[in-house]
Every structure is written in C-alpha cells, then in structure tokens.
C-alpha cells in the first residue's frame, strides 16, 4: 500500500512541468513572421477563412473546465476572438487570464442556426455562471475563431 501511494505521488510530481510558468509554449512552435491584427481579421473574416494567421493580445477568458479555448482581446475596443483547440491538444490554464498570448492557427467560420446559437450561448453563460435569455438571440449566427496550432503565453 505504501509503495502504491509513493508511486502515485511520484507520478503526480512528474506532472510538475504542466504548471504555469513565464513564457509558456503550447503546441507547435510559432513560425509565421507577420502578426495580423484581430480587428483586420474580423473586418474581413471571409477573406481569412482557411488561412493561417498569427495574432497577439491579452487573454480575457479561458475555458474553465478543459482549457480547450481562450479568448484574446482585439486591438479594437469591445472586441475579442476565440482561440480554439481540440480537447487535449493544448490546455490553457485559467491563470492565463490577463496575460498576453501570441497564437498561430487557421481562421474558421462557424455557422449556427437559431437553435444552435441559443444552445451555444446558453452553454457559454453556464460556463461563466451568468444568466442568459435565449430570446435575446433572434437570428442565426456566424462566428469566426482561430483553430490554434501553437501558442506562447507570457
């Protein structure tokens, strides 16, 4: 029994590299030289869909359960863009909020019907612990996000 406990503790300590540190890298190394502003992408999103971009901004929200997405602030007020990864590919820590991220990935378009949009925003509100009125969504929604391949958080 003591050996089992010791083994478990040893395995847990091996997970130490997962803890947050300054300039933490996630996924593949960043390779693009040019940084594209988030506002440029959102102003002409259709032109960017499918294209690889590098963006930079302050992290304003992180998925609280699996760390599978984060939102970074745009260079323009009141605006942000979602950085999405498949579960487990990269895990963004909640402690990253307020830090700066540089992210590379492809711009994606997500088209949602009215019902899908209501479910999506209801789920978001549930994650944030805030209330949501489904009637506030009155039309299908088109969103843009970046499917990240690599990120650096400082």
């Amino acid at each position: 029994m003591q050996k089992s406990v010791l083994a478990v503790l040893t395995l847990i300590f091996l997970a130490a590299p997962l803890t947050g540190r300054a300039a933490t890298e996630y996924g593949q190394p960043l390779a693009l030289g040019e940084t594209t502003s988030v506002s440029s992408i959102l102003d002409d999103a259709d032109a960017y869909v499918g294209k690889a971009v590098k963006v930079e901004g302050m992290i304003v929200q992180v998925c609280a359960t699996r760390g599978c997405w984060m939102e970074i602030a745009s260079d323009r007020e009141y605006e942000r863009i979602r950085i999405k990864v498949d579960d487990g590919v990269m895990v963004f820590p909640l402690s990253a909020r307020g830090k700066t991220a540089r992210v590379e990935g492809k711009v994606e378009e997500i088209s949602m019907s009215l019902e899908e949009a209501r479910r999506f925003y209801a789920h978001q509100a549930e994650e944030k612990g805030s209330s949501f009125d489904p009637e506030s969504i009155t039309a299908p929604v088109k969103l843009y996000q970046i499917r990240a391949t690599g990120a650096v958080i400082e």
């Binding site: 395995l11 847990i12 304003v60 009141y78 487990g88 612990g129």
Partner: protein, 188 residues
C-alpha cells in the same frame, strides 16, 4: 522441474495486479471526474463574491487612475495585469488568479477567484496524457499490463468457475454489453 503454465499465469496475474493498483486508482478517480466535469469542475474551484462601490469621479476613460481607485475602494492592494472592456458598460480587471468585473453604471463589482484543485487537476492531466513523452510510454505500458491482467484472469480458475462455466458467461456479457451500447448509441 517443470513449471506449469498455470503457475506462470497466476504469478503474472498476481504481480501485474500489484503493479497496476496505483495507476488504476488514478484512472478510476480521474475517469469518473472527467465523465462529470461539466457538472462539477474537478480542475478548478471557482468562487465569486460581489460588492457595490461608488464609482470614481474620473470615469473609466481615466484609465489607470480609474482602475487604481476602483481597486482601492474594494480594498484590493495587489497590482493588476491588465483590463478589458467587453462592452461599453463593463470593465474587467485582471489580477493574479482573480478577475474583477465592474458594472460601470451601477458600481456593482463581481470578483471571481479560480483556484486549481492541485491533486484532482493532476490526476485528470495524467488521464488525458498531458504529462509528456515519458508518461505516454508509461501509460502505454500500463495499458499493456491491463491486457495481461485481463487475459491471465481468464485462466485463473478451472472447471465450472472458469471459462467453461460461469467465467465464460461473464466474459461474454462483458464483451456484448459495450458492443450493444455502441450499436445503440453510436449506430455502429
């Protein structure tokens, strides 16, 4: 002196069993936690508190001065990392491990603290293979050991208690049930 295969089978089953206990408990705990992570966040404990303050006269466009005054009025002495306006009526202030959300009309401040549940976060991370290459190889070895345990377990008992009797029925049920579930819910 010849050693019977049954003896080898028993020794293998016994020793692999002892070796696998610790890691199995990690996977048992994290498996249940991850299955229900949307109902209960086993990675983080998120707490919220609320207060209402009189907003500084300088106004949110006062930038740093406004933010520092808000922090002073809620008794916050820690410096902040940055701010964000999700909409014209809201200001978010990011501190270390905490986020304050200020309603710029009412002065209501919501403070959110998210603290990692270190042990549970760690077992979840191990389960999801986030502990690096060494762990990946270890987890593969562990998976193989489970396979050895399963197969050696089939031959532990003989006769009516073994594969030819009760054991056979239970083994068949254990194979059929997941197939049935896959057919019912995944359309396979």
């Amino acid at each position: 002196m010849s050693i019977s295969w049954r003896h080898v089978n028993r020794v293998l089953h016994r020793d692999m069993g002892y070796l696998a206990v610790g890691t199995t408990l990690v996977y048992v705990l994290s498996g249940i936690l991850l299955n229900h992570i949307h109902g209960w966040n086993s990675n983080y404990r998120v707490e919220r508190a609320f207060a209402t303050i009189e907003l500084p006269a300088v106004g949110v466009d006062g930038g740093e001065e406004f933010v520092e005054e808000v922090l002073a009025r809620i008794g916050e002495t820690q410096g902040y990392r940055g701010t964000f306006r999700p909409d014209p009526g809201t200001l978010q202030i990011f501190l270390d491990e905490r986020v304050l959300t200020v309603d710029l009309e009412s002065g209501r401040v919501e403070g959110e603290v998210a603290r990692r549940r270190f042990f549970l976060w760690a077992v979840n991370a191990l389960h999801l293979n986030r502990a690096g290459t060494f762990w990946t190889w270890f987890a593969d070895l562990y998976a193989v050991s489970l396979g050895v345990l399963a197969v050696t377990g089939l031959f532990m008992l003989r006769g009516r208690q073994g594969l030819r009797g009760r054991g056979g029925w239970l083994t068949a049920a254990g194979i059929l049930l997941p197939l049935l579930l896959a057919w019912a819910f995944l359309g396979i």
